[in-house]
Amino acid sequence: MKTQLISKVFLVAAVAVFVAGMSFAGETLQQFGDTKGRSYHADLYDGESCSSCHDDSQPSKFPADFSCLDCHDADELVQATSRPDDEKWQNPHNNLHYGKEVPCMECHGEHQESKPLCAGCHSFEYPNYKK
């Protein structure tokens, strides 16, 4: 019994450390049935509402560009990722090269890991970005 308890405690601790590690790394990619998705979109997967983003209920194509903006407010996003004056144009939602015209999926991956578009050339830090 005692060993069982200890192993349970150990398991809980291990899971806690693991979960803490995950959230520290900003990893929000989880398994939902046979597809991977973001933990913060769990509601969508529970309801099997692929059509919230995809035009077809059995998704065969990428969602329309900017379909994320059906729920997320573009101006709020710009505000949320604004940077100090000398880095003004490093705001991913209103950036120097493309303004506000970069489709969300060029930086964000819903079903797989991704990286910011600018990482090809620049080494800007986006601590809240979920790869």
Partner: protein, 507 residues
């Protein structure tokens, strides 16, 4: 095959035809590969523009100004601007308002002469002069759209006078973003994820449209759905260069392997250029591929060091690490400098990127210095000893070199490499110092399809323009010859885009 070889899907057609059929078609008509009579049109527009860089957007705005009702711009990427929005935002204009204000004597002829010299005898003078004469109109178009420029001029390598504007954001984005907004305001249709596939001809060999792959996802394995777009006034190819097509650039210059980086975005692959060659356009200067001597091995892409070096070279000295001595005129044309840098090697023949030393008090005049230091691609030193120690440069020869160079600053004559010292006047090299490392990157393809001064694409069968087909900017060849001078691409692109629109609207 009665229809002289015109067919909607040329590739399948040629593949299925076999050698005998191909031989039977080895007549001028082979150029015109898709015939109008077979085409099911999906869309129709008055002016069709492929590519949304400087050339494409300038053409769209000009066409609208000249009364076009229906202008469409396609880009294969999910956003606009291509390589233009990565560019450094440097814009050479002769007889500009700023030159008048600062009392700089210049003319389109003087600018052309500078470019002809860098072109090493093979540049197309007529095209250069045309661009120089109209550069002010292009500048005006950007100002009207809301572009902002530094209130001073720069004198870039190979230019005999200061004539270069730069956007306050030190990027072509400072022009592309306002032009995109201007297009939207004027009702130009801007379509992303739309990849040009091939040209469509009528039975007389006139370009009457283009096959576009709509819903193209670059780099994600989705080609898109073919839509035949009819173009009532013609098609303008404004798709830029091929710096990122390693096979194509290696075919021209075997030294430009995958190991040589590039300042361009991954989309600079040149497939529209190859399509123009397939239909009979004349390949010009394809092997003249320019590397940028101001780039840095310490960052990817165009980065921060490029603009930093472009601004600072005039009052800096570049030094070979092994000797502590200069090895080039820091504002010679690009090819001269790139070749000199590539010769900087260690004892094993491996690249040993040279360093460029600038006085902090002069470097800080340009906003890129802060970025260079902040992102760790440049370094500040309080003493020459620290600098020499950091880069392992022999101190005494370096000290002597700087003293010698400061003598040239004083006398105004560079006895080592003949550098024009006008912009270095009074700017002695002294502590504290800012230092960057330089190594060339593939930057610009001088080669491309031949056009005339009206932006019409020339046919290698007839040596006359291919009716309905226009091209401008980096996708064309000839204008710059062996080496393009810095800040001469924006005027080239903008003016030839405007020119193409003017020609189309007269057609």
């Amino acid at each position: 095959m009665e229809k002289k070889g015109y067919q909607a899907d040329r590739r399948k057609f040629l593949a299925g035809m076999g050698m005998v059929g191909a031989a039977a078609l080895a007549a001028p008509a082979l150029n015109a590969v898709a015939g109008e009579s077979d085409v099911k049109w999906g869309e129709e527009h008055e002016v069709v523009i492929i590519g949304s860089g400087f050339t494409g957007l300038a053409a769209a705005i000009e066409a609208k100004k000249l009364g076009a009702k229906d202008v469409v711009v396609y880009d294969k990427m999910p956003y606009f601007g291509g390589n233009s929005t990565f560019n450094g935002g440097l814009f050479a204009v002769p007889n500009s308002p700023l030159q008048k204000e600062k009392g700089v004597k210049d003319s389109p002829e003087i600018m052309t002469a500078d470019q002809v010299k860098a072109g090493r005898g093979v540049a197309y003078e007529e095209l250069l002069l045309h661009v120089a004469k109209h550069a002010n109109e292009a500048l005006e178009m950007t100002l009207e759209a809301g572009s902002e420029y530094f209130p001073y001029l720069q004198q870039l390598g190979g230019h005999s006078v200061p004539r270069t504007y730069q956007t306050t954001v030190a990027s072509g984005a400072g022009i592309i973003q306002p032009l995109v907004k201007q297009c939207q305001k004027l009702g130009v249709k801007l379509v992303t994820r739309a990849k040009f596939d091939s040209l469509i001809f009528d039975d007389n060999g006139t370009v009457v449209g283009a096959k576009i792959m709509m819903g193209h996802y670059f780099g994600r394995g989705v080609e898109g759905t073919a839509v035949n777009v009819r173009a009532r006034r013609g098609v303008l190819i404004a798709t830029g260069g091929f710096a990122r097509n390693v096979e194509l650039r290696k075919a021209q210059d075997p030294t430009l392997t995958e190991e040589v980086p590039s300042t361009n975005p991954a989309s600079a692959t040149g497939e529209a250029l190859l399509e123009m060659f397939r239909v009979g356009a004349v390949p010009v200067h394809m092997a003249h591929i320019q590397t940028g001597p101001w780039a840095s091995p310490d960052e990817d892409g165009f980065g921060y060091v490029s603009n930093y070096s472009i601004y600072n070279f005039a009052h800096s000295l570049s030094v070979y690490i092994k000797t502590g001595r200069r090895f080039m005129n820091e504002i010679a044309d690009r090819k001269t400098r790139s070749d000199a840098q590539l010769a900087c090697r260690d004892d094993d023949g491996k690249p040993l990127p040279p360093i460029t030393i600038t006085s902090y008090e002069h470097a800080k005049e340009h906003p890129t210095m802060k970025k260079v230091l902040k992102y760790g691609v440049g370094w500040k030193f309080d003493t020459l000893e620290e600098l020499a120690d950091h880069f392992k440069v022999p101190l005494e020869p370096l000290k002597a070199q700087i003293e010698e160079y400061n003598g040239y600053v004083k006398s105004g004559v560079d006895e080592q490499f003949g550098k024009p010292m006008g912009k270095a006047k009074g700017k002695y090299i002294q502590a504290p110092f800012v230092v960057v490392r330089n190594w060339p990157k593939v930057h610009y393809c001088q080669g491309g399809a031949q056009i005339d001064v009206q932006a019409r694409v020339i046919d290698s069968n007839t040596w006359k323009p291919i009716p309905g087909l226009y091209a401008g900017g980096e996708v064309t060849g000839g204008m710059h010859g062996v080496s393009r001078l810095g800040s001469c691409s924006i005027p080239d692109c903008m003016v030839m885009g405007m020119t193409a629109a003017r020609t189309m609207m007269k057609s």
